[in-house]
Symmetry: C2
Subunit: 646 residues, 2 copies
């Protein structure tokens, strides 16, 4: 309760859960920090933001500046991966107060002899800290302030800008107050900018009816690279359970030859640290990872913590599963539904610490053995939040490069909690946000609220689990616009590939699930086929690589268009050297036109200033010298991706 | 980092500064607590709010209930003064999950033999905790669940409401999670409901030109009581400095006989623990406090931490003041302004701990020697925030009854910080909020944001320091409506009395300050005079004592009126047994009329339901059976104070 400081610092931003959990950032980003900083009385308050990387000893300092209503601001750039730490210091500044006071008194015509003597005392205290040149100046000030004959010179020096700069540069901070230290976790750029493609390795064969292998995957890598994807995600590649195996279309009566769900992991052939024999060997998988790397692609591995009834864990660690009083094992269930091909891990087990350790070892195995640096985590929301917090932190302690995508399509606060616990990216509700109003509202929530500090969205128009109503008609325009939206609204994006490209959108009746889903059977794809979708997806992906403004998500500004079917938005790189503007026709059936308002203020120009907008898709350029400009978009090519030149 | 719990509890409300500072409440109030509470997977989460008074050992528990979006709620009633503590527990509830699951499976037509065995195990765990009757029932359940022949009975008991209630009543809370503990400070009712009158004892004499005394104050007490005030605040009653004493109207050249500012404390006659000799003795003052108490009035003392140059502290504790290099003492200043009759306390002193202690001793002296239980603190924002946090806490540790009113008319966050540090009540911007829109916006901020948990407003239409523009004309209607607004918008209210009652609103030219202010000279008042203001202020005060709905501030709801000069609002006691509705004409010159919308939903009635509204000022009753009702108010009596009967 005893604190002599006269300064209070509170309401600090950004903080996640009052600072208990780290804020997230990306290498080279600026972290904007603000706080309410108050002093008593009329004295001048000063404050600085202190920050350092966890491995640095010395704090760096940046002076904070007040805006309105006692709110203070500064930002610091994070240059390295790992944890940064920041804190804020505030103090009543004697030097600045003295200079301010003497200035006001001189303006008022008062004599300031006594004030000059005070100033001499203050400046003497700085002599030890300053450089040689500065010392000469300060010593001159001190002498003049104390020399009654040098009053005019002394007064001139007292209020000089040169002295002001020294007082700012060398604050003495008497009785300063200091906040706690807060963490910022910094990831590599890929956490913010990534383009994902998903296919099932077992459907990769050139020969219809044949089980695909990692060798087939090697063949397909150049295609994925050519389309501009940088992350290739494989559903689980582990042995598939044979007990209670699922049949085609999720039936419970599997027929001989049915390949089962890739998520039904574990059999006599092994578990989570093994490869499904029909795909190849660990050595084959390593070859895929390496070949992909050469093409600029990282392989994202599925991390699905559940077991088929014949998973080796069940025998080796029965205490990791729940056993019922009648001696049977507990299957996954959501009463009255039962999922008998899957046993959930029993996280309430008394042996939970060994269980956690084995899960960590599993992740580390693939990182260390095969060079995996990206995990797509299956249903993380059915495992304890704190478990993820621990596992992700442990992996990143050794391998800060490793990224985790949370596959949780569930309640908003659950999705947020997983992100807070450490997931690098998260699937989102984008899949079901179709109208202009829905999209704007959702993006504003993601990018303008505190979610921006911990929840990194990854926009997927579809996944093997979700065949959304909007795509089920197989309409080309909607496939075009949904990918365009995903890839330009969000800097992280992905598709469940062949199905999307070839618009194979047949669904189980009345459900948002694919008919003849690859989750339960092998499909054959004509990987040579090219269509408008393959062409435009490739084009969009390559444009994303060129335009830095498209490599972040939080930099979005929606523009006014007087048509509810037209969505327009503006993005910019931090240095404003790259500016893009996207306009999308959300109507898959009819051409739509309207007037789009240029974001003059954000672009830093006045009405009448001529800008050139070049559509990077078609190459066409337009000269716009008005604030409102006419656009018309047809379903055949339902978007503009304009680069802005001023 | 290791936490096996499957439940996360976050975003807890109410918290002040993440729980570092206590929330405020009042004896018998309910504290509404809410939090986001999340479990993984599909299991049923349960949660409880635990609370206790600081002097109790055992926590009491109240079950929390979810509303929408994983938000959970409960509230607890604080019954005693002092600190309460609360925390939240959450867990995955095995009993409720089991009952929910078995119910869903039965509805689905499944057999549940295995589930009954599970249930038997769960219920056996409860047998030790329950009452004798409950034990009989539970034992019967266990037996039936295990008896294959009793399937129908077992199933019936398994899903029974009786069993459900027991599962709720005796949760086992395996792997529960728990928040930190948070403080709520509880004050006596007066902190929320008080009616203040201020006059200068030195102006209390019956004889013009004579210095008033405490004996004169004794004479005036019945008048104050008759007008319905319960708190009588005296500006400082300590010896007044003679060095650099201020003259009339704040002039610096005091003439012989000038009495000086009562806030220029300290002279050869003593300091903060002494009484100004012309007022009387400590014994006389005690008589006033006691006589007031008998009339239901508490004397509020001024606590003004500053010193005249001849204050005994200056000689006894020179280190408590700032000395300049030229050997002179530092006067109060706000450059270029100087206040030479006042020395500020030097809180940066090396001897600060003794300084703090003396300030505390001063407050305790008046509490313990004279029974003072209310302090009005002068300019607290020019002393360190943490000093107040410490001083108020120390006083309240020994004397929880003592209340502190913060006289800080300054920047909003500074005013809020003083409240957070412990001030019981605060002066507000009400003094300058005149229009309908300003009043609604300000009240919404005070009562609907987190300010409601720490900032208790006290509405004053005037003070000796503030003669607001609105009152300077001396218009009667505005004096009537401003007091009415203060006293019915806010449950804490006060006036600087005689000046207000007698509408003596002459100002220094161009300033919001009184001409011939009592701050610097003695005034003579005709205390026998009665006018419409004295009559109506008395009436309003007495109505406030009767109507519980007017004894709190946060219970306000503004009503629609289709006239910008008419302000209408509704208030209710917690049990809705008392409901009032106020309508005010803000125009001091013209009659205004319009249609007021009854708050049907809040009142729990339907349109067409007839209500009787009785104006407690005039006694007139109206029967209203429509949602919108016509009112007209004249400046002669510019308000209705309706009591609502249904």
């Amino acid at each position: 309760m005893y604190n002599q400081s006269r300064v209070v610092i509170e309401n600090i931003s950004p903080l996640i859960n009052s600072g208990v959990l780290p804020v997230r950032s990306i290498v080279d980003e600026a972290v904007p920090v603000s706080a309410d900083i108050l002093g008593d009385g009329h004295d001048i308050v000063a404050a600085c933001l202190c920050f350092k990387h966890e491995r640095e000893k010395k704090w760096k300092e940046i002076r904070m500046l007040p805006s309105e209503n006692d709110r203070w601001h500064a930002s610091f750039v994070v240059e390295k991966q790992g944890f940064y730490r920041y804190k804020i210091q505030g103090w009543i500044d004697p030097g600045l107060n003295w200079q301010h006071g003497i200035g006001r008194k001189l303006e008022d015509g008062q004599h300031v002899n006594s004030e000059l003597l005070e100033g001499a005392e203050i400046l003497e205290g700085l002599l030890e800290s300053v450089s040689r040149d500065e010392k000469t100046f300060l010593a001159d000030c001190v002498t003049s302030f104390r020399h009654p004959g040098a009053y005019d010179k002394a007064v001139h020096m007292a209020v000089s800008e040169q002295l002001h700069q020294l007082l700012v540069k060398y604050p003495t901070k008497p009785l300063f107050n200091e906040t706690a230290e807060f963490d910022v976790y910094v990831d590599r750029l890929k956490a913010r900018f990534s383009t994902w493609y998903e296919f099932f390795p077992r459907s990769a064969s050139e020969t219809e009816g044949q089980h695909g292998t990692f060798k087939d995957c090697l063949r397909l890598l150049p295609r994925v690279a050519a389309m501009g994807f940088d992350t290739l995600y494989f559903p689980p590649i582990h042995p598939i359970g044979e007990v209670n195996r699922k049949g085609k279309n999720n039936t419970t009566n599997a027929q001989p030859g049915d390949v089962g769900s890739t998520w039904g992991i574990g059999s006599k052939d092994g578990g989570h640290k093994d490869i499904h024999p029909q795909l190849g060997t660990v050595a084959d998988f390593k070859k895929v990872v390496k070949a992909a790397e050469k093409l600029g692609i990282e392989i994202a591995m599925d991390f699905a913590l559940q077991a088929a009834p014949d998973h080796p864990w069940v025998e080796e660690h029965p205490e990791w599963f729940k056993w019922r009083p009648d001696g049977t094992v507990q299957y996954a269930e959501n009463p009255p539904k039962k999922y008998q091909d899957i046993l959930p891990i029993y996280f309430e087990s008394k042996d939970w610490k060994n269980l956690w350790k084995e899960m960590l070892d599993t992740a580390l195995y693939w990182v260390e053995e095969c060079g995996i640096r990206v995990f797509r985590v299956d249903n993380p929301h059915t495992k304890p939040f704190y478990f993820w917090g621990w596992l992700i932190a442990e992996v990143k302690k050794k391998h800060p490069d490793v990224l985790f995508l949370s596959e949780a399509f569930t309640k908003p606060k659950v999705m947020h909690q997983l992100a807070k616990q450490g997931f690098t990216q998260s699937y989102t509700y984008f899949t079901w946000r179709n109208s202009k109003q829905e999209l704007i509202e959702y993006l504003e929530e993601l990018t303008k609220t505190d979610q921006r500090y911990f929840f990194r969205p990854n926009f997927w128009p579809n996944t093997p689990d979700i065949n959304p109503w909007s795509l089920q008609g197989g309409n080309e325009a909607i496939h075009l616009s949904r990918y365009f939206l995903a890839a330009t609204l969000s800097s992280n994006t992905g598709i469940y590939g062949p199905v999307y490209e070839f618009m194979e959108s047949a669904a189980l009746p009345g459900r948002e699930e694919y008919l003849d889903s690859e989750k339960f059977q092998i499909r054959h794809w004509d990987w040579e086929k090219e269509n408008k979708l393959t062409t435009l997806i490739s084009k969009i992906n390559h444009i994303r690589k060129e335009q830095r403004s498209l490599q972040q998500t939080n930099n979005i500004e929606f523009l006014s268009v007087e048509n509810d079917q037209l969505l327009a938005y503006y993005k910019f790189s931090d240095d404003r050297a790259d500016e893009t503007m996207m306009i999308v026709n959300l109507d898959p059936y009819y051409a739509q036109n309207g007037w789009v308002q240029l974001p003059l203020q954000s672009m830093g120009i006045h009405p009448g200033h001529r800008v050139t907008v070049t559509d990077l898709i078609t190459g066409s350029s337009y000269h716009w010298d008005k604030e409102w400009n006419f656009v018309e978009l047809h379903p055949a090519l339902p978007f503009h991706l304009f680069k802005i030149s001023k």
